[in-house]
């Protein structure tokens, strides 16, 4: 009896956290705990921002299609709050002045230089530790199981996780809570999947979320 009693969850809380979805409007009244910093994008996402403590996948044909502009406001907000941000195997060097112009506190930013399978290992360690505010990784190869591990690690450590992957992975299933595609021409952002609601049909044009 006791056991059953502790498992009872109010229906409202399930509905509010979008675990049970019954066709509500995608708009959420209260502000998300992890806003993206782009109000147009926040409005399109069912939770009003990044899914907290979960994996977000950002797919693009090549680096340089606006992925930094997408995450910079979040990183600036986290580093300003004293949280640590870890970049694992970024594709290029970081131009410090641009990151500073975006408001990111470089003292709270760490880069891990690894290759191959160690990217996923390092990402999992960082997520699981719970000592980071956000972990961004660029795995060269990651299958469904590896991503599921990252998703579980993000839940365990209550950390925002971002995985940047190639656009050809869009056809494969993924356990990520949110999947975004950055298109090059025309420059736009599409939501492939989002937990807690139907993905918006229309793509966001470049100027809207920039």
């Amino acid at each position: 009896m006791d056991n059953a009693a502790t498992n009872v969850v109010a229906l409202d809380s399930l509905l509010d956290s979008r675990r049970v979805w019954r066709g509500q409007s995608p708009h959420v009244d209260d502000a998300s705990t992890q806003p993206t910093g782009h109000s147009a994008l926040d409005g399109q996402l069912p939770l009003g921002g990044w899914p907290d403590a979960a994996l977000t996948e950002i797919l693009s044909a090549r680096p340089g299609l606006g992925e930094l502009t997408l995450v910079w406001p979040t990183l600036a907000r986290l580093t300003a709050a004293g949280e640590r941000v870890v970049l694992i195997a970024p594709p290029y060097l970081l131009y410090p002045h641009a990151w500073l112009q975006a408001g990111v506190d470089l003292g709270r930013l760490s880069v891990i230089h690894v290759q191959g399978k160690d990217v996923l290992w390092a990402a999992e360690q960082c997520l699981r530790s719970g000592s980071c505010g956000a972990v961004l990784c660029w795995p060269s190869k990651a299958d469904d199981r590896a991503l599921r591990r990252l998703q579980v690690a993000a839940e365990t450590g209550q950390t925002l996780a971002f995985a940047f992957r190639h656009q050809r992975e869009a056809v494969n299933a993924s356990p990520a809570a949110l999947r975004l595609v950055l298109d090059g021409s025309p420059q736009q952002l599409r939501v492939l999947k989002c937990r807690g609601g139907n993905p918006p049909v229309a793509a966001l044009a470049h100027r809207v979320w920039h």
Binding site: P63, G64, T69, Y95, S110, I112, H113, S129, G130, G157
Partner: protein
């Protein structure tokens, strides 16, 4: 003043057993010349086989051929004694190695910090058990009385000078810590208990016995003070474990390694220090000693973490030749500053701090794998970047847009540009260090949707060179 005595009931044997992976195997300590080896001590498994202390080695082999033997080593005992003193130094500044197989420490001044005596005593016992030493702990107003009480039994305590004589009246003469000849002489005179000795006239005792008897009695009952030399912990930590067999894989070294790192942690806790850098030394028969350096970014003293970091460095090491002994030397020991944690931590389940995580990553991925990015006051993009701790005092950034991604070296642009968004911006710098750069930078929008930061320069050749991407 109150003195505690910690007496180690099987000091030599415990010291050997705690370094054995399997303490339940029969094992004896041998001493004496090669011609006549005698068993010094035997563990319970060996005792149950019928092996007894004082038995000769040949007799023991006749009873049972299968048991491990370890040489009784005075030097190892001394080091072990000092390690325990370093541990006890964490509880009291006055620790003495005066008595064999025992430590005496002044605890009156430690009581305000470590709680009332029963709690303090329980903590000492818990830590000693974790270290693997069986022990007796007693408390008395002076060190000699505490040591004598430890002969009589465990956890005896006498708080006041006044009660001391009456508490010790009935102790047998043999337990009082006299030299064997004095004990023999006293018992031949029919004196069995301390009360009988104290009943004799002092003048007669002084005449019939050596001076040491009266001195010892006075020191025990508190009318004289035993001059003690106090232990000062060494400034470096060195420990070496000789292996009973030749080890060819690092896996088999993990057990002694765990012992080494936990002893290091014990030592560090006693001195309130942390280890920043230490060296593992693997000794071989022929080849020169293999040294594995474990360098940490911040001092650490938790035994589990020290073990994990040392293991991470040891496992990739190639063992060139079988290992005979493993040692640990730590000489960079800064004071340990516990990490600041918020009272109301936002992540209650946070178990690993960033410092620990960073060490874990470094120990597997290499010392240089984790770095911070710093800005440098140079206009040349390839020099505006620094791989180290970031400097907070930055030069003026300027109003110009800079790309988030920077290429390690400029690459020729092989995609059609659709239009120029801004430019040119002349960057000319570096004539003083030979890396003269004179470039006109443009922001280009490419046909595939990317935005490039590219330049044209006569020095690099014709065409566009990409320096970075606006992402």
């Amino acid at each position: 003043m109150k003195w505690a005595c910690i007496y180690f009931t099987q000091f030599a044997l415990d010291g050997v057993l705690r370094n054995c992976p399997d303490p339940d195997e029969p094992l004896v300590l041998l001493h004496g010349p090669i011609q006549r080896r005698i068993i010094k001590a035997a563990n319970p498994a060996a005792l149950s086989l019928g092996l007894r202390p004082e038995m000769t080695y040949t007799a023991a082999q006749a009873i049972c051929p299968q048991f491990a033997t370890v040489e009784y080593d005075e030097g190892a005992l001394r080091r072990q004694h000092e390690l325990l003193a370093a541990w006890a130094y964490g509880f009291s500044s006055q620790v003495s190695l005066h008595f064999d197989d025992a430590l005496v420490l002044e605890v009156q001044s430690s009581l305000p910090l470590f709680g009332p005596w029963p709690r303090f005593e329980a903590r000492l016992r818990q830590e000693l058990t974790a270290l693997g030493f069986s022990h007796r702990i007693t408390l008395a107003p002076n060190p000699v009385a505490a040591r004598v009480l430890a002969n009589a039994g465990d956890s005896l305590n006498v708080r006041e000078d006044a009660g001391l004589a009456s508490a010790m009246r009935t102790l047998p003469v043999a337990l009082l810590g006299f030299e064997p000849e004095i004990v023999q002489a006293l018992s031949r005179m029919g004196l069995r208990q301390l009360s009988q000795v104290l009943a004799l006239p002092r003048a007669q005792l002084a005449r019939r016995f050596q001076l040491s008897l009266l001195n010892h009695l006075d020191q025990m009952l508190g009318s004289k003070v035993l001059p003690l030399e106090f232990f000062l912990p060494p400034t470096t930590f060195r420990l070496r474990i000789e292996l009973n067999f030749e080890v060819e894989s690092t896996q088999a070294l993990l057990f002694p390694l765990r012992r080494l790192t936990s002893d290091l942690a014990t030592y560090l806790a006693g001195r309130d220090m942390g280890a920043q850098r230490f060296t593992l030394r693997l000794e071989h028969r022929e080849a020169p000693t293999t040294e594995v350096v474990v360098g940490l970014l911040a001092p650490e003293r938790d035994p589990a973490l020290l073990f994990e970091f040392a293991r991470g460095r040891l496992e990739p090491t190639q063992v060139v030749e079988p290992v005979l002994a493993i040692g640990l030397v730590a000489d960079e020991l800064p004071s340990f500053v516990p990490q600041h944690r918020g009272l109301f931590d936002e992540r209650p389940q946070q178990t690993v701090s960033w410092e620990q995580l960073r060490e874990r990553l470094r120990s597997r991925l290499g010392d240089d794998a984790v770095y911070a990015v710093g800005a440098q006051g140079d206009h040349r993009p390839e020099r505006a970047w620094r791989r180290d701790t970031p400097s907070l005092a930055l030069q003026a950034l300027g109003p110009n847009r800079r790309p988030g991604w920077l290429l390690p070296a400029p690459e020729p642009l092989d995609i059609d540009q659709s239009r120029v968004l801004s430019g040119p911006e002349r960057i000319e710098s570096g004539w003083w260090d030979g890396e003269d750069a004179r470039r006109d930078y443009y922001v280009l929008e490419l046909s595939d949707g990317r935005t490039a930061w590219a330049f044209q320069s006569p020095a690099e050749g014709p065409g566009w060179w990409v320096q970075g991407w606006f992402a």
